[in-house]
Symmetry: C2
Subunit: 154 residues, 2 copies
């Protein structure tokens, strides 16, 4: 695929996802790690970060794409089971940090932006921190995600 445009930032030495964990680490394998993103508006927000520095999903081999999405699915299922989420949002953008990472976010009809994307316009203010409205505390939620990912790897 020599005609594919290379990413605009292939310099791993300047990549924050190559030099830093990128969040509160929940689980890690040689291929990918999962962190919880610390976002007060969206507390049930996890990110799967591919360990090696590739920009696009299609840069992965077919086997790696499958492994990647089965892990994303594991996070999604853990969030669905643990929380009464209205919807799960999945995205890989990478416009700012072109190192493959997947956002997995549990959305609620009461959250500040719903049904807008988390990157869109907020629609309401909450009377209490969003984390207080989750069915589980974050340590327990992390544990559920960790267990789901460990089962996948088993």
């Amino acid at each position: 695929m020599s005609s594919i445009n290379p990413t605009h930032a292939t310099d791993a030495t300047a990549c924050p996802l190559c030099t830093d964990t990128g969040g509160h680490e929940v689980y890690s394998t040689p291929l990918w790690r999962v962190v919880r993103v610390e976002d007060s508006a969206f507390p049930a927000f996890y990110r799967l970060i591919w360990q090696s520095h590739v920009a696009e999903f299609s840069d992965l081999s077919a086997a790696d794409r499958q492994a990647c999405m089965e892990a994303v699915t594991g996070i999604e299922r853990a969030l669905r089971t643990a929380l009464q989420a209205t919807k799960i949002n999945l995205a890989t953008l990478g416009n700012v940090v072109p190192h493959l990472h997947w956002h997995v976010v549990a959305r609620f009809d009461w959250d500040s932006h719903f049904p807008n994307p988390i990157w869109g316009t907020p629609l309401r203010s909450l009377a209490v921190p969003a984390v207080q409205l989750l069915a589980l505390d974050l340590a327990e939620l992390d544990e559920r995600v960790r267990q789901a990912l460990a089962e996948l790897s088993a």
Copy 2:
């Protein structure tokens, strides 16, 4: 997985992606169809729509998840090969229409929102319509996407 929260809208009769094509159809299989979204700011914007009414990616079987993402990858590769895109963005949100669909959007460092998400704040105005800045016209781009998807299904 009986403890998984069902989607908030399982009524397919009220679902616009069950009753309408959802865009300019480019390719279709029994499992999914691909349409080009008519968005003047983001002309190289395709959407893979799952044919049956499921809300979440994890509602699919493992085989269907793989078929889904291989098709998404086919669109991504066609866009990368045809256009000098800065980045490809993939997302499945479904907060408004909870019928599984994947957004596949070619992003350019000159586009109105880059590097913000397409749902975020615009950062600049263009002097000409964005479609005029693509390396191919849309009919030819559609054909490249169609060919990539036909090869997958062959």
